[in-house]
Symmetry: C2
Subunit: 242 residues, 2 copies
DNA sequence: CGCAAACTTGATGGCCGTCAAGCAAAGTGG
DNA sequence: CCACTTTGCTTGACGGCCATCAAGTTTGCG
C-alpha cells in the first residue's frame, strides 16, 4: 500500500519509518484531508507570530525555517526536503516562533491541526512518530549550534553538505555521489552565519581540493571521507534508520 | 498543596504552569519515586551515547548540556536552572545525543522513565506539559542558533544574560536587578562560541558602559533597556506565562 | 535582447583567536 | 598559620579569518 507515490503514502512511510504503523493508522492517514499547493521559489509559507491551523508536509522541493533580526539580517534555522514535516510543533502552539519559506518551487500538502490531533490521540504509534520528529529536529538544532559556535567556514560548509546529502539519500533523491543543490550562496551564508562572499571563497577552496563540487544546481561529493573528516561529521543525530 | 517547597511540588508546579493539572495528576506526581542526589560542581550527570533510564529534575544549582568536538573543544547547548527538566527527550530515545554536567554543586532528582511514561499515558494534561517542555527547549535552541550565527560578542553576551535573568526570575531566584551568576568566563565562551579571553574583554565593555556588572558570583543588570537593545532580545521564545 | 539576480574576485580592515605573562582567590598540607 | 598549588581572571601584543566595499562577469528569464 505504501508503495505508490501518492502524498498519503509518503506521509505514511515517513511516520512508520521507525516503528511500523498498525493498518488502521495507515488507513486513517489515507483518509486525511490534504490540501495540496504548488508554491513558487522564495515565498513565505508561514509567518512568525502569524496564525496557524495547518501543518505541512513537503512533497517536492526544498524549504527552510528562518528568523529575522530587527536589522533585517536573516538566520536560517533548518532546511526541509521532500518527506519532511516542518511545523508539527504548531500542534502545540498558537503561532509559530519562526518563518518558513520555500527555497525552490515546492509542492506542499497542508493538513488541519484538528485531524492530526485526533490521529495522534487515537494511535499511540503515531503520537510516538510525532515525538520522534520533534526529537530529530531538536538534535539537528543542536548539531547546528555546535557548527555555528565552534567550526570555521570550511568545516561549517562541509558539515551542512554532509547533512543534506544524507537526508536526501534517505528519501532517494541522490544520484551516485551527487545531489540536487538549489541553495544559493546567500542561503548557505544565512544558514552558516557567514557572508555570501566568504561562502563563495570557501566553496572554491573545497572544490580546488577535490572534495566537493557545486555545478549547475547540483552538488557532487568527490571525496566523502575527506568531507566527513573536514566537517567532523557524525550522522547519528539524523536518526536515519538505513 | 503545591505551596510547600518539596521537590514534588516544584515538579507539579512546573508541569502545571501552562494548564492547571487535575488533582489526580497532581497526586500521581506526589507519588513518583524520586531519587535525590547532591552532585559536586563540574561533574557529568549524563554521557553522550551512554545508557539512560531516568529523567532528571534540577532542584537546586545550575547544569548545562554540551557536546564535545573530536579535538576536545566544547560547545554548550543549553543551561538549566532549578525547576528545569533537562532530558525529557530521553523518554523517546535509547541514549542521549549530548552530555550533561553540573555547573555548580547541584541537587538533582532522578525519576524512572517508566514512571513518567505511565504518568503521561494516564494524564493527557501531563503529556501536553511534556510537549510544552520540548517546544520551549527547541525554541531556545533556535534563539541560540540566531545568536551564534548573526550576533557579535557583545550582542551574544547580552542575549544570554537576558535569557538567564528572565528564566531565574520566573522561578523566583532573582533579587531586585541582580541574580546569582556561577558561570565562569570559559562557560560563557563555550556557550557563545568565543574564547574566554574575549568574553573577559566583552564583559569589561558592558560594565564600562553601565549596562551589566558581574561581581562576586552575582550579576547585576544596571540598565535592562540598554541590555535588551544591545541583544535585540525578545523573550517570547521562553514562553514564560507571568 | 535586455534586465535582474546570482556569482566571482580583489582590496582593505576589524573582530576575535592565539600566545604569553601576571594577578587574585581559594583550597591543601605541613 | 603560612608556603604551595590550582583555578580563574586580567591584560597586552600580534595575527588570521572573515566582513565590508566595490567592481566585474555570468546566468537566467521575460
Amino acid at each position: 500500500m505504501a508503495s505508490s507515490k501518492s502524498p498519503f503514502c509518503l506521509l505514511a512511510r515517513r511516520l512508520g519509518s521507525a516503528a511500523p504503523l498498525p493498518v488502521a493508522a495507515e488507513r486513517a492517514i489515507l483518509g486525511l484531508p490534504l490540501i495540496i499547493r504548488t508554491i513558487e521559489a522564495s515565498r513565505d509559507i508561514l509567518y512568525e507570530g502569524g496564525p496557524s491551523d495547518h501543518c505541512c508536509v513537503i512533497l517536492d522541493g526544498w524549504t527552510c525555517c528562518y528568523q529575522l533580526l530587527t536589522d533585517g539580517r536573516r538566520q536560517i534555522l533548518l532546511f526541509h526536503v521532500p518527506g519532511d514535516l516542518p511545523d508539527l510543533q504548531g500542534l502545540h502552539l498558537p503561532s509559530p516562533d519562526f518563518g518558513m519559506a520555500t527555497v525552490t518551487r515546492s509542492i506542499v500538502a497542508f493538513v488541519p491541526h484538528s485531524d492530526l490531533r485526533t490521529l495522534s490521540d487515537r494511535y499511540p504509534t503515531i503520537a510516538q512518530a510525532f515525538w520522534r520528529e520533534a526529537i530529530v529536529t531538536a538534535a539537528t538544532h543542536r548539531a547546528w549550534i555546535v557548527s555555528l559556535g565552534r567550526r570555521d567556514a570550511r568545516q561549517k560548509l562541509a558539515h551542512l553538505i554532509c547533512e543534506l546529502y544524507l537526508r536526501l539519500e534517505a528519501v532517494g533523491l541522490t544520484d551516485g555521489r551527487s545531489m540536487p543543490m538549489p541553495l544559493r550562496q546567500t542561503d548557505f551564508a544565512d544558514a552558516l552565519g557567514l557572508t555570501s562572499v566568504h561562502v563563495n571563497r570557501t566553496l572554491r577552496s573545497l572544490r580546488s581540493q577535490g572534495i566537493v563540487d557545486l555545478y549547475g544546481r547540483r552538488s557532487t561529493i568527490l571525496d566523502w571521507e575527506a568531507l566527513r573528516a573536514v566537517a567532523d561529521f557524525n550522522p547519528k543525530y539524523l536518526h536515519l534508520t538505513d
